[in-house]
């Protein structure tokens, strides 16, 4: 599995500037077509709507690929058990991943471990947390990690900004994130 991910042109367009990103977001958020448009404008809007949804799907596919080559690789030989897909409810949908993040959840003993990834115009990120019984997050909050992992915030750990830029890129090498995922899984294996 290669560590180089191709960025689809839809996402290149999205990350190119804030106005283009906002236009896509605007169209995604519009629940119904604006009234008073001419036929030509309706045609343009409809094409824009399908294009915006395709961009959202491209993001889902990219995040899944990113997850597979980072957390997926690191967890391949782990003993953690992935939760059933029905437990995700709607959070694995393209809409949810677009608004929040791509994640998979595993269990081990009485701990729930969530591994996630996401991207924005400032970079590509990994994140995780370990939830122990009674909503305790000490395992992940107290885990000693390299400097490229941020200190815990809201009981979650995230990689720092700028490790991998996505803006202006046609492809990204995510090997640094693969290494950071391995670092966490190795530490987890020692602790949980």
């Amino acid at each position: 599995m290669s560590n180089t991910l191709n960025i689809p042109e839809s996402l290149q367009f999205y990350f190119e500037n804030e106005q283009q990103a906002s236009a896509i977001q605007q169209v995604i958020e519009s629940k119904s077509i604006s009234i008073g448009l001419t036929w030509k404008e309706v045609e343009q809007y409809n094409i824009a709507k399908v294009s915006a949804l395709t961009t959202q799907l491209d993001y889902w596919l990219l995040m899944k690929e990113l997850w597979d080559v980072t957390w997926g690789k690191a967890l391949a030989s782990s003993v953690y058990k992935e939760v059933d897909s029905e437990d995700y409810e709607k959070t694995y949908s393209a809409e949810s991943v677009w608004d929040d993040c791509f994640y998979k959840t595993y269990t081990f003993k009485e701990n729930v471990i969530c591994f996630k990834c996401y991207a924005d115009d400032e970079g590509v990120y990994l994140g995780f947390f370990v939830e122990s019984p009674n909503e305790q997050y000490d395992i992940s909050n107290n885990m000693g990690l390299s400097d490229q992992w941020e200190k815990p915030e809201d009981d979650e750990r995230s990689t720092q900004k700028g490790i991998i830029d996505i803006k202006g890129k046609t492809e990204i090498d995510v090997e640094p994130l693969t290494n950071l995922a391995n670092e966490v899984v190795t530490k987890l294996n020692e602790q949980v």
């Binding site: 839809s10 990103a21 824009a48």
Partner: protein, 259 residues
């Protein structure tokens, strides 16, 4: 292959002149047929594959609807502004940037673009739209007071073909602009009544109900519903304006649309 050969020869023997096809000939035609099938299957699969969007595809459709999405466009991630403008601030801001007393000739260009964006797409507005070509004497006001009712019109715009040839305006419109769900329907008949007094003819007048999502009103049929997204996408397309203050102001409108 033997079965195909037998079937082919059986079919051929129904012809008036009997043919006997060699194994090689059948093999060759079956191969060709297979290739055609393969191509057909590929074509069908291709048609069902999600279309890969190119940056040019996206540029054409998004720039076509929103106008050129560059730094002078008003679309901008709303959360970065940090706070919302209120409805009165928006209407006053629109009037400020459209008033040539504040911004000179550029304001008149903006104003015409704004009016076109509001009026386009409805045949009843054709006379108003064509009047804009020669219009010069524009009057624009936010929160215009109707003394008899103590109500205020959100935006009033009137114009004449020639300056000051009448106390009344030959052309114009009244805009009730809302971002919330609640429109004070009671005020609309008062504004309509007021329009009769200040405009020469109702035929040259438009009453615009500008909202986020309201459609035609049965109770107030003379009011034309226009949605903010329709107005702003058209207005952005009509603008060619480098004034950064004006761009910044429009961001507050887009933020409210996004909310």
């Amino acid at each position: 292959m033997d079965a195909i050969l037998n079937d082919t020869n059986l079919l051929a023997n129904h012809a008036k002149r009997p043919f006997l096809f060699s194994k090689e000939a059948v093999q060759h035609s079956a191969f060709l047929l297979l290739e055609e099938h393969k191509k057909a299957v590929l074509r069908i699969c291709e048609a069902f594959k999600p279309k890969k969007l190119t940056k040019d595809d996206l540029k054409i459709c998004f720039y076509g609807f929103f106008g050129e999405l560059c730094s002078r466009h008003g679309l901008y991630p709303g959360h970065r502004l940090g706070f919302d403008a209120t409805e009165p601030q928006i209407t006053k801001g629109i009037v400020k940037f459209l008033d040539s007393a504040n911004h000179g000739d550029i304001a008149e260009t903006r104003l015409k673009g704004f009016l076109l964006a509001l009026l386009e797409g409805r045949s009843q507005n054709e006379r108003l739209i064509s009047s804009l070509k020669n219009a010069r004497a524009f009057s624009i006001q936010a929160e215009k007071l109707i003394p008899s009712t103590n109500r205020r019109i959100d935006i009033f715009i009137g114009w004449n073909p020639n300056p000051l040839n009448s106390k009344k305006f030959e052309y114009g419109l009244i805009i009730e602009a809302k971002f919330g769900h609640k429109v004070m329907s009671g005020s609309l008949p008062d504004y309509k009544q007021h329009a009769r007094g200040i405009f020469e003819s109702p035929d040259n007048t438009a009453l615009i109900l500008l909202t986020l999502n309201r459609t035609l009103s049965i109770r107030n049929k003379s009011w034309q519903p226009v949605q903010w997204l329709t107005l702003m996408s058209r207005w952005e397309r009509n603008l060619n304006d480098d004034d950064t203050d004006f761009t910044q102001f429009r961001r507050f409108i887009w933020k409210k649309i996004g909310n």
